[in-house]
Point group: none
Chain length 199, copies 4
């Protein structure tokens, strides 16, 4: 009796894994997530479909994995960026970095992934765990410090405060069109801070 056939990660081929990730991400950027297919990734990566299904559950998962990994690499290089004592400046800097520089040109990949997550609960969870959650957590710490220092009203849940900021970004990405530039990210923070400051 085969014990549910779980593959052994130790024997996973690193080259193959890399080729699949690269192909998936490239295709998502070039043509949009909707036009990516497992068959397409397999062909482009020179890989059997079986191999993809062995390690990922869906095309969304492949693209997310490929993209998240790249982001994590980039963030590692950046996020030691020492935070100052100016809460507003720090916040603006953080939003600018993460939304404009790190995500930057592949914002449509993110949009596609969130779109797909609307009918793929596993992908939704993966998305939150690998991309959205970590970003929120990073900011939450800075907000708590600002509350301690009296720059943010103490009765506000830090995560609702983050919502107030990120919601605006995602809303523009997914629902209402508009430019994603520095003027916008600053306005986002300004507007949010108006409500967060102690009265």
């Amino acid at each position: 009796m085969s014990p549910s056939h779980t593959p052994d990660p130790a024997r996973r081929s690193p080259q193959t894994t890399a080729a699949i990730r690269e192909a998936a991400l490239a295709m998502a950027r070039e043509s949009g997530l909707a036009k990516v297919s497992i068959e397409g990734i397999a062909a482009r990566a020179g890989v059997g479909k079986r191999t993809i299904y062995r390690w990922w559950p869906s095309k969304g998962a492949v693209v997310l994995d490929a993209w998240a990994q790249r982001l994590e690499d980039r963030l590692h290089k950046r996020l030691q960026s020492a935070q100052s004592d100016d809460f507003e400046a720090d916040l603006k800097q953080t939003v600018k970095e993460s939304w404009l520089e790190v995500i930057g040109d592949s914002r449509s990949v993110l949009a596609g992934l969130i779109g797909e997550a609307q009918h793929d609960p596993d992908l939704a969870i993966e998305l939150r765990d690998r991309l959205i959650g970590p970003a929120r957590d990073r900011v939450a710490a800075r907000i708590r410090r600002a509350q301690d220092e009296g720059q943010v009203a103490p009765d506000i849940d830090p995560y609702r405060a983050i919502d107030l900021i990120y919601a605006q970004l995602y809303y523009r990405l997914l629902v209402a069109p508009g430019p994603h530039d520095e003027a916008f990210t600053e306005s986002v923070v300004d507007l949010a801070l108006r409500g967060l400051r102690p009265r």
Copy 2:
């Protein structure tokens, strides 16, 4: 002088149109937009696929049309709901009505449509024109009045103010999970108003 086959709306069969809309909406509610197919709609409505393609460009467009029309019907009955002089109460009432009562149980249909709109620009435009835009416009007028009456800071663009509110709703719908209840909608308005009030 018409080069490509534009069908004549005057000859469109009302029963058929209704049957298609009904089937599409029912299926979207039962199984989610992703499991809806033109073929399925056609079968359920007892209609040829050609007839659907003649009048709608995609399954998303059919569902959107069906759903938007139903919302418009419901709103017509409601929106005479006279607005009071209490801006905060009005806002809370409006948000509660539109997000909880009118959209209510088919919020996942909306999520699915927005998801699909991420790779279907025509659908995105249609969505904004029929659903999102009108809702924004309705609120914008009330906000301008509030500015005139000094309840909202005059330097704020009413549409950015609306963003601040709706962004939170859509963010919870699409990106970060959480309950959609009256406590939530009130908190949304409260948080937004903190930043909108004149200082």
Copy 3:
């Protein structure tokens, strides 16, 4: 109670009829009967589909009608061609005229019609009544005269004799490829006559 709705030929529009025939025949010649469609004929003739269905049961019937009529026109001009006393020469002349000159370049239309007749019994009957039967009857008379004059064995059924000739022509048209030229038609008659002559 409408009496089965038989259309009244007296009110049939001659221009429309001609346009349909012309379109059908032209399309059959250009692209082969298989690529002809009622919709195509209607579009090309500038005519409603209904009008075609009113007067013909199938596309094969339209093409057959159009083509048979053209043949009949041509034959009317020719067939007074006085027959001589030389049976062999007469036969060769008749075959050459009908198979090479009259049918000539639209032999593939005939092939298409016979092909279609294999699954359309009505068309098969129409074919025999309008094209194949009359040709046979014309030759039968000449054969009987040849029997009277002792040039053909008297124990042979004239129609079997005709079969012997035409079968060769149709066989080459439908089953075994080969040129349709004067050498062939002469050889056809020669070979048949070897068996028909009295011993």
Copy 4:
């Protein structure tokens, strides 16, 4: 170096192939080739349409393949039927066997295939290569022997002689209606032999 997707016959599934052939032939016999569809074959054989298109170019090709293979099987069992020294008897026996016994009840399938071949050149070639050509070749050898033995005029091309016989059979099948029985096949050979014998 293969540019377009040529599938590998070694990996072809024998069960699937057999199921498709069986379904195709059964349907052609039951309802006629015209009512056979790839979709229908696929459904009846429990097979994906793709699989049919992978190995055959058209429904005609499937039916021809299925039918020809069955004929070849039957002929293998028969054709060792030792030929006698009586040319006329041999010929009558051969025609009777092939046209009445082997083809027998599925003559309409043959008619349908030839009908379809009128607008499908690939099918026409396949037909000749697998069905018509081999039958002719088998007879040609016997005719040459008859010429050596002086029973057939030496100036006659054996293939034209065969034409003379088979043309009559196909003519009755495709063009002029009539019974296909032993009286007919004998009359066919009799009539042909009248012209083939040396004078």
